[in-house]
């Protein structure tokens, strides 16, 4: 078996909101170029863990390392997609992407058009994002996350409120990105969609990682149930 290098690591991360601890001493290392799926019940700490990895939630204690740096320092290599779209409803897809491209020092339309095409949408679509269907909005949100060609993608509930067909298409896109060498983290409740695609399932309960299952172990057994 070929050892893959660690790209993201968390060391004894505790995240408290007032007296509530969303993460309780999470420690883990995640290999590069793999598809990691984070599972757990509501309130298990999945989104908080993902936000901590992306640098949006600062751990109360412990540390997060992305490519040996803090998430903030590694931000050019991070693509983040949240449950909300992170897009301006009043602007079209290409207008949104052109703005976000500028934040990464990318000028010109070509990269934006390429990102939109890569998620199966038409860059010429002039409608404002607010008038998109949920599936289109999720795809455009993914286009925004991959616009600057990051090495790591953190995706929070990318398939929620998306019909099965669109969700399967998105899974196909993500599989292609993983095969191209990107490291992907997905928080989802729809783990069955990722059967045969994900490399690892990580189970969270009450702010702690309770299990990690490699898909090769589970091959043919479906998504592990907890």
């Amino acid at each position: 078996m070929i050892e893959t290098p660690t790209i993201v690591s968390v060391n004894n991360v505790i995240k408290q909101f007032g007296r509530f601890a969303a993460l309780r001493g999470v420690s883990a290392e995640f290999a590069a170029g793999r598809f990691h799926v984070i599972l757990g019940d509501n309130g298990a700490g999945k989104t908080t863990l993902l936000r901590a990895l992306a640098g949006l939630a600062h751990p109360t204690r412990g540390e997060v390392s992305v490519m040996g740096k803090s998430p903030h320092e590694a931000c050019r290599d991070i693509g983040y997609m949240a449950h909300p779209s992170l897009l301006y409803d009043e602007m079209s897809g290409i207008e949104n992407l052109k703005y976000f491209a500028r934040l990464y020092g990318i000028s010109g339309d070509e990269r934006c058009k390429h990102a939109i095409r890569s998620v199966g949408l038409d860059p010429a679509l002039a409608r404002p994002v607010g008038q998109y269907s949920q599936g289109m909005r999720q795809r455009m949100s993914l286009a925004r996350a991959v616009l600057h060609d990051p090495r790591i993608l953190f995706l929070d509930e990318p398939f929620s409120n998306v019909d099965v067909h669109s969700a399967q298409e998105m899974v196909g896109l993500l599989r292609g990105m993983r095969d191209a060498g990107k490291t992907i983290f997905v928080v989802t409740h729809q783990a069955t969609l990722l059967e045969g695609v994900a490399d690892e399932f990580i189970w969270l309960r009450a702010g702690q990682i309770v299990d990690r299952t490699s898909s090769s172990v589970q091959s043919g057994a479906g998504v592990p149930q907890r």
Binding site: A54, G55, L56, A57, H58, C75, R76, I78, Y80, A82, P84, S85, L86, L87, Y88, D89, E90, M91, E95, Y99, F100, R102, L103, Y104, G105, P128, R144
Partner: protein
């Protein structure tokens, strides 16, 4: 630092485009200012000499309250769909966002002043006895004083539950030196009674101090949870 101004201008252009399409802030500000003019004109005889004495205060009260509408709207837009998180995960400098928001609010409030000032002059039968050109630095420095500190405190209050109430509660007490300078300078210029230079210098000092402090602290505010 090289990316500060290109990103500031890109964010400013985006905000102007969004405001042009929605006109959320502009319509509310205009309506609010008009309401103030009309209500005050009902409250007392606007042509009386005493009314003209307090016209400087009335003008700035109207602009101050109207600016609050724009300031709240500025950040509300970034909270919808959590768009602010997309900025926070990017390498763009925090100060570019602050400057673009402050400049956007400056343009909006200046537009409002340009529309409302002639109405005030007509409603309150005002005429400038002092040097009229001195109103320009008072307006520019006064508007920047309102929007720079207002944009900063609006950003601070966006994560609070009652942000619309919190902003004036934080902003108004801290703006007292600036408000007093604007009102006094305007009154002196309108009445021609004295020299407004002291108040203009005070306003300039307030602008320099607050703008520097806001720029130094904005990254902390942006990255706060």
């Amino acid at each position: 630092m090289n990316s500060l101004w290109p990103i500031t201008l890109a964010s400013l252009a985006k905000d102007i485009r969004l405001e042009w399409r929605s006109k959320d802030a502009l319509n509310s500000m205009l309506f609010f200012s008009l309401l103030v003019v009309v209500i005050f004109s009902f409250s007392f005889d606007p042509t009386a000499e005493e009314s003209r004495e307090i016209a400087g205060g009335l003008v700035w009260v109207a602009f101050l309250f109207s600016a609050i509408v724009a300031l709240n709207q500025t950040w509300a837009r970034e909270l919808r769909n959590q768009v602010l998180d997309a900025y926070r995960v990017s390498p763009a400098p925090a100060n570019a966002l602050f400057l673009s928001k402050a400049l956007g609010n400056f343009i909006l409030v200046t537009l409002l002043e340009a529309v409302m000032a002639p109405l005030f002059m007509v409603f309150y039968n005002l005429r400038v006895v002092g040097a009229a050109w001195e109103l320009i630095p008072v307006c520019v420095l006064g508007t920047w004083a309102l929007v720079a500190s207002g944009t900063f405190f609006a950003a601070m209050s966006i994560r609070t539950r009652m942000r619309e109430v919190m902003l004036p509660l934080i902003l108004f007490p801290l703006s007292i030196p600036a408000i007093q300078s604007m009102v006094e300078a305007t009154r002196i210029i309108l009445s021609g009674d004295g020299n407004p230079r002291f108040w203009i210098v005070l306003l300039l000092t307030y602008d320099v101090v607050f703008t520097t402090a806001c720029l130094a602290l904005f990254e902390t505010v942006l990255q706060a949870e």
